[in-house]
Symmetry: C2
Subunit: 340 residues, 2 copies
């Protein structure tokens, strides 16, 4: 997430998608896959998730060059049990594998009311929220999550044994889908770095000093490599469960089997659940309930006087702005993309 | 959770179940339902979850007397779409409704690989972990959650608009199931009260003072009625999503429609998802993965030198002790139960 950096260029959305797709064609992507992957990167930046959008594209290209990601690999069905399927991502591009598996979960939910696809041997899915929005656009309630390399110490421990294992939950709503996309660490390393660069403290404790004291000092957390799970012991437990469930369902790697190097992180496990509430005869009721809940949330008395925002609300505002003014992209990265 | 209070009696497990069942028979429960409800209460205390076990039985009896809970009501199927069903709890006993719906989700997962049952118009399910253990005993990976009355201010707000909406995730494992049972507030009001009575501060900030300062003072949080969501804005978002998803799937009440009174909290919405990993041809693999993850967790270097515990690990130890020495029950409550 975050705000555009001061030097960012604003690139028209369509121009951005086409430029990214062109680069991917050069890496052996088919035309269709190049466009879909390009769109997923561009959409993340368009929606304000700059950390996992175009600004991450160069790292993705390195992963292609280093053969961490196999541009041509497509996910294959491993085993199936009605509404439940296991797929193997074959080390293909994480965003294409994830998109395919959420699409398959949506199809399964058409047939069975609910569908679940577990995916192993895949790569970083970039912005997890992408797959929540994808499901919500299809009218589905969705839950999906991924494990990651070890990057988070369990509560009470010093060394990172857990992943920050992002969890996504989406509920469709006519006036704007409600989509939560949250990692199990209080702050990502990217967010911590950005606070340090701005020279400000974190708004709440985000990890430990090397002496084991809770701290709001971003530099101290980067040094100790001990970020904090959300809710202390609670997020620690939740991160463990997400890893266990994803790896067990996918028959894939658990966090402890994934290389602890952002450039080499690969063969992660994911799970995608889509549920079709319209089949329960309550499509209107579902929309009505969502509106009632959001309306009640907006009525909350706040400290600032501003309304409480629901997950995904800011995305729509940012999307509007970025479609109008152009999508913010780091100038050097845009230069790299244009050079191809 | 918690430790037995100093004055607690230790009652043999079987005697406890029978005494509780006898009382429920007097309230019009059938023999079978009385025993199942009694067992769910006794199991919670046996497993160390004293706050939601036998010590909560008197409040449950009040709810029966006040007709908040209808002793004789059974859940009925409202609509169905293959692996997805919606049930109506008809204001029956929450623990029986929840048990029935998890059982049904398990059956559906037998047929379809995954099953989801949404339940509306039900009552407090007591210990949420009960239904996670139930699924894990059946070899299922499970996710279930409930909404509650409004008892938690959204991040940035002053008034409680969110429920603390407990979330349960279970993964079966031969050497001990891994079961997480966590509410979205950092501490329950019960836990906050118990810290205050002991005259100690919370180990981490658990809410706000009336002036809006984060605090570890339990009394100040009881006064402000502003407990803290886990992970600040993150748990606030997660609590909202759980409410939205449960109420939309169940076609039932959202938190904002539930009476904000612990004695009158009723007609809540819940969701139960069970997944059968054995149907993916990987039963052994699932167990092996779970063992690997737990073993890695146990290898973490800790601050205290003690091993990091996985969710559910302490339950098994407490269960052993309480089966051996008797289940701790508040003396006055045991007297009330014995009088019938």
């Amino acid at each position: 997430m975050g705000t555009p950096a001061p030097g960012d260029l604003r690139v028209p959305y369509q121009e951005l998608v086409e430029a990214l797709a062109r680069v991917l064609l050069g890496f052996g992507f088919t035309k269709e896959r190049a466009h879909l992957a390009a769109r997923i990167f561009a959409d993340a930046s368009r929606d304000g998730v700059y950390s996992h959008g175009v600004n991450r594209f160069p790292r993705f290209l390195r992963a292609l060059r280093n053969r961490v990601v196999d541009a041509k690999a497509v996910p294959v069905l491993v085993s199936s049990a009605g509404a439940l399927e296991r797929w193997d991502g074959q080390s293909g591009p994480g965003m294409l594998n994830a998109h395919k598996c959420m699409q398959r979960a949506i199809e399964l939910s058409q047939l069975h009311g609910i569908g679940c696809v577990a995916l192993r041997n895949t790569n970083h899915w970039m912005r997890g929220g992408s797959y929540g929005w994808q499901a919500a656009e299809a009218g589905r309630i969705a839950i999906c999550w991924t494990n990651t390399m070890p990057n988070l110490p369990p509560w009470g421990a010093v060394d990172p044994r857990l992943g920050n294992n992002p969890l996504v939950i989406a509920v469709p709503r006519k006036e704007g889908h409600v989509v939560l996309d949250m990692a199990m660490s209080q702050f990502s390393y990217g967010a911590i770095e950005s606070y340090r660069k701005k020279g400000t403290q974190l708004p709440v404790p985000g990890g430990f000093t090397s002496n084991g004291e809770l701290t709001t000092d971003p530099g101290a957390i980067e040094k100790s490599y001990r970020p904090l799970p959300i809710g202390y012991w609670k997020g620690s437990g939740l991160a463990l469960m997400l890893d266990l469930a994803a790896s067990a369902l996918a028959g894939g790697n658990a966090t402890c089997q994934i290389a602890a190097d952002p450039e080499r992180e690969t063969r992660v496990s994911q799970a995608f659940i889509a549920i079709d509430p319209s089949q329960l005869g309550g499509e209107a009721a579902c929309a009505e309930i969502a509106d009632r809940v959001i309306s009640d949330l907006h009525d909350a008395r706040t400290v600032s006087g501003e309304k409480v925002r629901y997950p995904g609300e800011q995305v729509l505002r940012t999307r509007r702005t970025n479609l109008e003014l152009g999508v913010p992209v780091d100038a050097a990265i845009w230069e790299e993309v244009r050079r191809g």
